[in-house]
Amino acid sequence: MSVLKTFNKLPELNTANIMLVGSDVSDLEKLSRSIMDENHSFNVNVRLAQSLPLPVENEDSRPRIDLLVFMVNLRSSYSLSLAESSLKFIDPHYFLGKVYFLATGARSSHLSSDLLPSLRKLSASSHSPVLFADLESDSDRLSVARRFLTLLRIAAGLVPGASALFLNTLLKGAPASANEDPPN
């Protein structure tokens, strides 16, 4: 069982790596293409996975992952349970601001009523913010990609004076504790 470790690899020069984890391959690919399309002054590598643990074969070729994003489709409870089970295979250091949840499909009218509260609980217990997006149109994807690129820059340490943990405490979407009500 390979656990994703934060600091066991050396960082590369002017490079940042983001890993997207989600059950829907087409969603992952859409978002990754939008991220790669955006202009960025540093190199970006995107790794896509359906679930953790990751296959051991890729252990050597895999670079240090700076940001982990779990894509949860609010229409499918399978994606939420997949994200939950994948959280066990991450080094605890990631939870200091390098893990984000991306919830898609919030605009759909067929929402199952208990997925969003469960997602919020999960995000509260792991101290990771939830971002909402829809990957349907180009402009939606563009704005999500830009947000993640900003987060990625900070998480990779490319912004002097800011770190992922610092950002985590500032973000409104990160609940302080599981007992507090999530901000509306």
């Binding site: 890993m19 829907d24 391959v25 087409s26 690919e29 990754s32 293409r33 790669m36 399309d37 190199n43 970006v44 590598n45 995107v46 790794r47 896509l48 996975a49 359906q50 990751l54 296959p55 074969e57 890729n58 895999r62």
Partner: protein
């Protein structure tokens, strides 16, 4: 000019989409060249239709002309109808070369013998198909032109595709077809769909399934643009495996377009925890229906994305081979009570 002709013409015109109105009217050939030029096809549909109706009245349009127009429209847009597939059996002569005039003569005479008021239109199209349009009346009323039955008989094959056939008229039509084509009987196969071309491909086995040879495609062979080179799939091997299973089960090329698959189960209920429903002598009837704009393609994508578990049940994957989409599964195994083997 009869009112009924006008209403019939109006209704037929309304169904034709504006984009193909020009081509269909010119194919119809009923309006003269000057009249066609007079029509400005950018105007609103309402104005256009009124003009066409006026021209047709000038030229003295009759029911048979409108029937022709209806047939042209349906030939152009066959996918708006639900087609069922029928098969002939028991041919008298082995090498039967069907004479078109003989066939149409026999068919019309037979049908008119059985029912006084029927209106029949016939057209031989390219790719060896005969399109027949039958509007039914009974012995006292004129034929109802608004609910015609369409029959497409594929020459040199024992297959007929029929749409919109009433149960009442089925024996009449069957008899006329069987006599006209010199067969013994006609039976319905359990295959239904909207896309006529796919149905034809399925029954005529034009759909080629992939061979079982293992073709290894290295993943780097894709001509991916530069931006894709930063994107790496962690589970690339698993995805490639799934894709291979999908192509092995369903083949590489385009799949026939079927809208539904219905499985009627007549098996005994088997659940050790439920004591009320198990151990009953009579079978538990249940119907499972899959529907989608193109059911086989969506099944293939489900397997590729990993949402459906591979290997796919042979009940589903054998649909293109068996060329059927309604199945009855009984205790001893899948089968249908009465169908000739294709």
């Amino acid at each position: 000019m009869e009112d009924s002709v006008i209403t019939f013409l109006e209704k037929t015109l309304q169904r034709i989409p504006s984009s193909s109105l020009k081509s269909i009217l010119s194919e119809w050939g009923f309006l003269s060249a000057e009249q066609l030029q007079d029509l400005h096809f950018q105007q609103s549909k309402h104005i256009l239709h009124n003009k066409v109706l006026a021209f047709c009245e000038e030229n003295g349009v009759r029911i048979r002309h409108v029937i022709q127009l209806d047939m042209i429209y349906n030939h152009e847009y066959p996918n708006k109808r639900n087609w069922s597939v029928y098969q002939f059996s028991g041919q008298e002569d082995d090498a039967l070369v069907l004479n078109m005039t003989e066939f149409s003569q026999k068919f019309k005479v037979n049908l008119k013998d059985l029912l006084r008021h029927v209106s029949i239109g016939m057209k031989k199209c390219e790719d060896d198909a005969v399109w027949i349009r039958v509007a039914w009346g009974d012995n006292f009323t004129k034929p109802n032109q608004f609910k015609p039955t369409y029959v497409v008989y594929q020459l040199q094959t024992p297959y007929v595709f029929i749409s919109n056939l009433n149960v009442k008229h089925r024996p009449l039509l069957s008899q006329a077809l069987v006599i006209a084509t010199k067969h013994d009987e006609i039976k319905e196969i359990q295959l239904r769909g909207r896309c006529l071309k796919s149905l034809k491909d399925l029954v005529l086995r034009r759909y080629k399934q992939s061979f079982q040879t293992h073709q290894l495609k290295p993943l780097q062979e894709r001509n991916s643009p530069e931006r894709d080179q930063g994107i790496v799939h962690e589970h690339a091997k698993r995805l490639a495996d799934l894709k291979e299973v999908a192509t092995q089960t369903f083949g590489d090329g385009p799949l026939p377009k079927l809208e539904t698959a219905v499985f009627k189960l007549e098996t005994k209920f088997k659940d050790p925890e439920n004591r009320i429903l198990t151990n009953r002598p009579e079978p538990f009837r249940c119907a499972v229906k899959f529907s989608s704009p193109s059911f086989l393609e969506s099944l293939k994508s489900l397997v590729t994305l990993g949402i459906a578990s591979a290997p796919v049940s042979p009940l589903l994957s054998s649909i293109p081979q068996k060329a059927r989409n309604h199945f009855v599964i009984s205790e001893r195994g899948p089968g249908v009570p009465s169908t000739p083997a294709p």
